[in-house]
Amino acid sequence: MHLPFENFSTVEDFLENDAFRTWVTKRRPEDQVYWQQWLAQYPEKRDLYEQAVATFLVIQGKQVDLSDQQVRDRKEKILAHIPDSFTVIKPLWQWGRWAAAAAVAGLLIWWQLGNSTIQQLAIFTKKVDQPVPQNLWKTVKNGTGQSLVVLLPDGSSVLLSTGSQLRYAKQTTSNLREVYLQGEGFFEVTKNPVKPFIVYTTNLTTKVLGTSFQVRSFDKETAAYVKVKTGKVSVTPVDSPDKPVLLTKNEQLSLETRTDKVVKRAIIPAKETSSTIVDQQFSFEFTPVPDIFAQLESSYNMPIRYDRQLLSNCTFTGQLNDVPFSEKIRLICLTIESTFEIVDNQVIIHSHGCH
């Protein structure tokens, strides 16, 4: 297996590297696996690595010890000090400018009416009334601070990470399903062998027929990747369009964007506590439906409204790993003889309960 950064020859090379800094600050298990392999491959660089870690820790210094809840409390306190209702107070000169503009406009209208015919004005308004060309693409920007489910017209779903953006066609008339991603998204694609589903990012293009996988490509980051949870996908680096790489279940392809180095490897099974959706299993055996809904709610960050009392006797058995979000809900509803609708970004379950 090939690992980049073999050219690191000074401590500064490490300190200037985004991946290294991310590793030392966040210490994610997947990064640990990566650096473990790196150290095994370049034992002669261990000394440099150790110095770099120590230097970084010293520069960083004592870390702030605040829980998420404490940070939220501080935020609320800040907001509480900010006046709620506000009036936009414009400096006087701005009013003056508006007044001047209004006066000029008035003069112009007077001139128009006086010198030419009303018809000209009519033509002018007619032009404005012409329909704006229908916008065929929809862009979803997620700035909520949490993941957001995007339901695509073909029934596929995307769990869009915060800070990410997705653009897709409102109607699926063409024989391709194409989406453009900036950032990170977990895709669960409805099976349709006739219409391939394609995800474009800055560096990688991913093509599938129906499966689930995660794509990450933030322009700011130096590595982009595709992780496959179920099924098969084909990934093509934008810079080498003739070299598609086929990935199957539990495989991952990453691309070092500066060097264009492509690495394909197996996904290391994450620890039990892992909460990322790629690692989560949706297999159930006589599981109470409210429990499943609770898991789906938290994984997809999508509220599900239902009568807990009514559904307390309902259970579900089966695996829902490779189906989109709304399909998961549909299959559960099917077995418990219920119906559902999605309104205002929440799921509402209509049920008579189980006996």
Binding site: Q36, Y49, Q51, V58, L66, K77, I78, K141, G143
Partner: protein, 196 residues
């Protein structure tokens, strides 16, 4: 910067209080971490952060687009802390202190280093860093921990870009000596062990 920050910044400037709240939550730890470096009390830092966001809100109509929200906020906080210190008559000539206390318990195992090695190394580098002027240490922090560019650091620290480059160059060259000494010692120990 993330496109997301950008969107939130725009919303905030358009009068969305919640958007400012999201940014406050996102950068709270980073701001407090930075603020504490100036050897002021935690409560004072929190007051300064509060003050910073209140002022951002009041001035939102005059505030421009920014390339990086992170650097804008750090710069703002530095200003508020400086104001506080001035009012306490603790600073003159804009010279600020810089804390050098180090992380108490580092999880060396996670970081793939032997505990002993890491403790020794951090100690050596720590001592070296403590000898540097506060400004050089601050520049190192902003460059490598906060990942700011040289022009951004210049704005935050309110000095020109050349000074920032100089701070970094000087600090790094002093550290480089330390790194080399350490590498040399390791080699010596290695040979010694082989000879014995």
């Amino acid at each position: 910067m993330t496109s997301d920050d950008h969107v939130l910044w725009q919303l905030f400037r358009a009068g969305d209080k919640q958007a400012l709240g999201v940014l406050a939550e996102r950068y709270y730890r980073a701001l407090k971490h930075y603020g504490l470096k100036f050897m002021v009390d935690g409560a004072v830092v929190e007051d300064c952060i509060q003050e910073l966001f209140l002022q951002l809100w009041q001035n939102r109509l005059q505030i421009n687009e920014t390339e990086s929200v992170r650097h804008y906020l750090l710069k703002g906080l530095r200003h508020h802390i400086l104001q506080h210190l001035r009012s306490q008559k603790r600073v003159q000539y804009d010279e600020l202190d810089w804390d050098t206390s180090v992380v108490a318990d580092v999880d060396s195992e996670t970081l793939l280093i032997r505990q002993e090695t890491l403790v020794n190394l951090t100690k050596t580098i720590q001592d070296q860093l403590a000898l540097l002027p506060a400004r050089e240490r601050e520049a190192l922090y902003l460059r490598f921990y906060e990942d700011l560019s040289i022009p951004e650091i210049a704005e935050v620290m309110n000095v020109n870009r050349q000074s920032v480059s100089n701070f970094l160059q000087k600090a790094l060259s002093k550290l480089r000596n330390q790194w080399l000494v350490h590498a040399f010692l390791t080699i010596c120990i290695f040979f010694q062990k082989n000879l014995l």
